[in-house]
């Protein structure tokens, strides 16, 4: 489903020649390096044997529309039709308990994972990441540290931009990674050296989006507008559909990320959730999970518990 490149996935890197802007090629050819590291991080990296080589970035703007080419609509995806296009995607249906009330009464509701949105996001993220890695490869780098990624949506135009920035480094006296594709990590400086000393080598920065759409049914609509609850037996009413959708979004994000780990571990994970209320209880929940994929390369005995101290002054 996702095509984010990792060092042991050389096939994904092929075919990206000629993708970089001309200005990037010129900048990278100059011999002076620039680096996004702070001074302490820079010094700490030199100490451990990481030589900064260049400041590298990758950028991509994606637009996904509902009706254009490549959209879910055109690919035959529809929330109302189960088929191979959304097989395996999360969905849960809710039926109204009231019987017929009126034509406006929403007798049916559904929580639905939106794989087409997730694919488009993964494509944008992956493309921007690959471009940054390509800039690093051009410089013969072994890895990229201190990665900063920014995903910004412009709601009105339905476009999302993905931007990566990092410092390409080489390992002094070390072999290049498998397939010649540099590894990457969000960490830099002392935090990175601690992680390496504890036995974890960074593999890649990974992220995934889970998008869940809530089509509200009557009970959800009423509860979210406070129309029910007075005098109902059993006390406060949990809005089951919305709660489940939120839980599902977070679980799916973890599932998608785990699918990219291939047995490695994810450290420093961060979850960001954005909920967009559409109307009448309908909502889209976008949950992004990011972290550092790391691989354990040696056993490490636990550090002894540090001594507690009280500072004077």
């Amino acid at each position: 489903m996702t095509d984010v490149a990792g060092p042991d996935d050389p096939a994904a890197v092929a075919g990206t020649d000629g993708d970089l802007p001309e200005a990037a090629v010129r900048r990278l050819e100059s011999s002076a390096f620039s680096s996004g590291l702070t001074v302490p991080d820079f010094a700490a990296c030199l100490e451990i044997g990481l030589e900064p080589v260049a400041l590298v970035q990758g950028f991509c703007v994606m637009q996904w529309g509902w009706y254009g080419p490549g959209s879910g609509f055109m690919r035959g995806m529809s929330p109302y039709v189960a088929g191979p296009q959304n097989a395996g995607a999360y969905s849960e249906t809710y039926r109204c308990p009231h019987g017929y009330v009126s034509v406006e009464h929403r007798m049916w509701g559904q929580n639905l994972e939106q794989p087409w949105v997730e694919d488009a996001w993964a494509q944008g993220y992956g493309t921007a990441y690959r471009r940054m890695i390509e800039e690093a490869t051009d410089h013969g780098a072994h890895g990229v540290i201190g990665v900063v990624d920014r995903v910004a949506s412009v709601a009105d135009t339905g476009t999302t931009e993905f931007h990566f920035l990092g410092t390409a480094v080489t390992v002094e006296g070390g072999p290049p990674p498998a397939g010649g594709v540099p590894w990457s990590t969000y960490l830099a400086g002392q935090r990175l050296t601690k992680s390496i000393e504890a036995g974890f080598m960074p593999v890649a920065v990974v992220a995934a989006l889970a998008s869940v759409r809530i089509w509200a049914y009557c009970m959800t609509e009423y509860l979210m507008e406070g129309q029910m609850g007075w005098g109902m037996p059993g006390g406060p009413q949990l809005v089951d559909q919305v709660s489940k959708a939120h839980m599902a979004a977070r679980q799916l994000a973890r599932k998608h990320v785990r699918g990219q780990l291939a047995g490695d571990e994810l450290h420093g994970a961060r979850i960001d959730v954005v909920g967009r209320e559409l109307s009448q209880g309908d909502e889209v929940i976008d949950c992004t999970l990011r972290g550092n994929r790391v691989r354990r390369f040696k056993d490490f005995d636990p550090v002894p518990l540090p001594r507690p101290t009280v500072r004077l002054g």
């Binding site: 002392q190 507690p308 009280v310 004077l312």
Partner: protein
């Protein structure tokens, strides 16, 4: 001069709210609560005390108008008294809660002032803290027989006890001062010059001294040997820039009977942030 002794403020009869009584009863059955961080909790235990419960007192006070002369610097005694009384009410209620629990003292006291949009000219004064009790049964109550209060953090409390001193109470002195507006001729006369403004200097100096003297008087009433951690705060509250409240706060301490156990500190040169 208005009588700003704590006894005067505390003579009003007051019943703690019913919810407070329930909550304190639960605490007496052995559950403790505290807003101490884990670090502070462990250090309070090191000092030989056990936290009993989170205690608080509050009072919503309406601060009335006090007329003032535009051109004179003076203390606004009615406002001073009001600010003092309001805080004392909050502190007394907190001490009462601590007394209900049988505490020896309250640490980590915080005094806050809250303003709400629906209460013009009124403010809520709140005092929070954690009531503690000595585990070996010695009484640490102060000269007035009440649990000591102190705004020391858990760390500072432990360190103080190691030096052989015992807190007696949170002492405060307050003074609300109005600073005269300068006459137009005066202002024009000194425009563009580097010059000391004597009436400002005099006014602010006097106000601070008043606040600190009152704080020291409170400490002597507790038979304290000294005050540590004195903080001098200045607030304008909602009165505009020519009226300032000076609040001096500190913890009064006496030398205890215990020996000094503070071990010789290890000197270190810390090489990281």
């Amino acid at each position: 001069m208005t009588d700003l002794t704590p006894e005067a403020a505390g003579t009003q009869p007051f019943d703690l709210p019913k919810d407070a009584a329930h909550r304190l009863e639960e605490l007496e059955h052995g559950l403790f609560t505290s807003d101490l961080s884990v670090n502070e909790f462990l250090l309070v235990k090191e000092a030989g005390f056990h936290p009993l419960g989170f205690v608080m007192g509050s009072s919503i006070y309406h601060i009335g108008i006090q007329t003032r002369r535009w051109g004179e610097s003076q203390e606004l005694a009615k406002l001073t008294e009001a600010m003092y009384t309001a805080r004392e009410l909050a502190m007394n209620r907190m001490e009462e809660e601590a007394q209900e629990l049988g505490a020896d003292g309250v640490v980590g006291v915080r005094l806050d002032v809250n303003y709400y949009e629906w209460g013009n000219d009124s403010a809520e004064f709140i005092a929070f803290g954690t009531a503690v009790k000595a585990e070996d049964g010695t009484s640490y109550r102060n000269a007035l027989g009440k649990p000591f209060t102190s705004d020391l953090s858990g760390q500072d409390f432990w360190t103080l006890m190691q030096t052989g001193h015992v807190p007696q109470g949170l002492v405060m002195g307050t003074c609300v001062f109005h600073i005269a507006h300068r006459k137009l001729t005066q202002a024009l006369g000194s425009m563009g010059q580097n010059v000391e403004l004597p009436n400002f200097t005099q006014a602010l100096y006097e106000a601070r001294e008043l606040a600190m003297t009152r704080m020291q008087d409170e400490a002597s009433r507790l038979n304290a040997g000294g005050i540590v951690g004195v903080r001098l705060e200045e607030k304008s509250h909602q009165w505009g820039s020519h009226t300032i409240e000076f609040l001096a706060l500190g913890t009064a301490v006496t030398r205890g009977s215990g020996e000094v156990t503070l071990p010789k500190p290890t000197t270190i040169i810390s090489l990281d942030n």
